[in-house]
């Protein structure tokens, strides 16, 4: 059960069969919440904070969210506007416009960015996936990026990424062969390509900022 705090109605981690939910739940617990891991769309409607994690293929993830009614659940949650959403790793990509992974598939479209595989010059010998700790620069150290230093390190594992786009959104950028979107925050909907739950105190701080949203 989601633990009730003043001003919050609990944190739900969306379980759609993709990804390691255990570590995200541990980090949320460390910060004092009792997250509810749920695959039921109705649980999203009573939540104040929803986390959409995910590892694997974009297309399979969207199919799996649709099958369980969770895609509509997430849209309803965001449309009502009385709660906050955070996508992690594949979860961020799902919030963007579309991805060509496994065949062109539409995402939720909360961010206008295109998802694409890393594209390096032919002379590059950088391995894909991008795995490991890398630094992130934020356009504004506000919102979920509050109290994070410029160049803070976070843990990444991914082959696809959001290409930078001309937006006014608060964005974190990282360089790996090219510059890509590491995190993004529009106030109500946010996402991180990196894993905050695997990024020591930097990640815990970001998750705390998210859970503090009112």
């Amino acid at each position: 059960m989601g633990q009730l705090h003043r001003g919050t109605r609990g944190c739900v981690i969306v379980d759609y069969g993709m990804g390691n939910l255990w570590s995200v739940a541990s980090a949320i617990r460390y910060l004092g919440h009792t997250p509810q891991i749920s695959n039921k769309p109705q649980d999203l409607q009573t939540a104040s904070h929803v986390i959409l994690p995910g590892v694997g293929s974009f297309r399979l993830a969207i199919e799996s969210l649709n099958e369980r009614g969770l895609a509509d659940g997430i849209r309803d949650f965001v449309d009502k506007g009385n709660g906050f959403l955070l996508g992690i790793c594949l979860g961020l990509q799902l919030l963007a416009a579309a991805s060509p992974e496994d065949g062109q598939t539409a995402g939720f479209g909360y961010f206008p960015h295109a998802v694409e595989r890393f594209s390096f010059p032919p002379t590059s010998d950088l391995p894909i996936p991008h795995v490991g700790y890398n630094s992130v620069s934020f356009s504004h150290q506000t919102g979920i990026f509050s109290d994070l230093q410029q160049g803070s390190y976070f843990y990444f594992v991914h082959s696809y990424r959001l290409a930078p786009a001309l937006t006014n959104l608060n964005t974190g950028l990282t360089h790996y062969g090219e510059t890509f979107v590491a995190a993004i925050d529009n106030g109500q909907v946010a996402g991180t390509q990196f894993h905050p739950e695997k990024s020591q105190t930097n990640g815990l701080r970001l998750l705390k900022n998210f859970l503090h949203r009112r």
């Binding site: 705090h5 003043r6 001003g7 390691n20 255990w22 570590s23 541990s26 980090a27 617990r29 460390y30 910060l31 004092g32 919440h33 010998d125 391995p127 996936p129 991008h130 795995v131 490991g132 700790y133 890398n134 630094s135 390190y153 843990y155 594992v157 360089h175 790996y176 894993h195 739950e197 695997k198 990024s199 020591q200 105190t201 930097n202 990640g203 815990l204 701080r205 705390k208 859970l211 503090h212």
Partner: protein, 270 residues
């Protein structure tokens, strides 16, 4: 640029954590004891990755091991590699759905490499770490499997060339001779790698003091250095290593580990 890694390895055996010397095991204490007496959450705040290996030799007590893996997630906010006794895809799945980000395979790579391919197809090769344990004796250098109890029949160079074909994300090479001795890493083992070896390599076995990490982490062949030495490197031990490496200008992530206790349960106070 992706940073280099300082890695701590915990050896698990039937509810207890162990010290190892040349792969001979000695009991240290259970998880509660580790947290209390070794201040393990502070150690965890200084590392870039945790490796947890089930080194129980007789039976594969997967359930107990998995419950320990879950508990470690409660205070380790770095990627966790788990392994020891993985024989089937299902063993890997159990670890990957209970807190592990990667699995370490070793004996399986020698005995039934097609199962390694099966795990890579299901989860991606980035979540497989290939463990190679190497022993030098009487002028010969050989790989061993089954917790260092069984010699691999192939010559070391042939064995490593064969392993190179496997779809894994990185290799972890351990010196059995140096393991637990505190005499320093055996950097000569890196020379055994096939020419133009392209995967990240973690070197383990022999770390005894912060200086042992200093020159080696600069080596372009090394992506990470691991120690399992509970006596030498818990409490402030790894902080000293980390501070020394950062002062030396080495490419490690910078952690504000002092905040870990302050962040705990802070949401409750709203």
């Amino acid at each position: 640029m992706v940073k280099k890694r300082l890695i701590f390895t915990l050896l698990y055996n039937n509810g207890e954590f162990m010290l190892s010397r040349n792969f001979r095991l000695q009991r240290v204490g259970n998880l509660e004891w580790l947290k209390r007496n070794y201040d393990f959450s502070r150690t965890a705040a200084q590392i870039d990755e945790l490796v947890v290996l089930n080194v129980e030799r007789n039976r594969f007590s997967n359930d107990d091991f998995i419950s320990h893996l879950q508990k470690l997630c409660d205070f380790c906010f770095v990627p966790i590699t788990a392994g020891g006794g993985i024989r089937r895809l299902e063993d890997a799945s159990a670890l990957l759905s209970n807190g592990a980000d990667k699995v370490l395979v070793n004996t399986m790579a020698a005995d039934c490499s097609h199962k390694v391919i099966e795990i890579a197809k299901r989860y991606g090769q980035q979540c497989i770490v290939l463990g190679v344990d190497i022993r030098k004796s009487n002028g010969s250098t050989r790989a061993l499997v089954d917790c260092g109890s069984k010699l691999v029949a192939l010559e070391i160079s042939d064995y490593l060339t064969r392993l190179r074909e496997l779809p894994v994300g990185e290799w972890m090479i351990t010196s059995i001779n140096r393991d637990g001795t505190g005499q320093g890493f055996d950097s000569e083992l890196l020379e055994l790698l096939p020419p133009n070896f392209e995967r990240p390599v973690i070197l383990a076995g022999g770390a005894g003091k912060p200086e042992h990490f200093l020159d080696l982490l600069r080596n372009p062949k090394v992506s990470g250095l691991a120690t399992a030495h509970l006596h030498n490197f818990v409490g402030d031990g790894l902080k000293q290593v980390r501070d020394l490496l950062l002062r030396d200008g080495q490419e490690l992530p910078i952690w504000d580990a002092n905040e870990i206790a302050a962040l705990k349960s802070s949401v409750d106070e709203i």
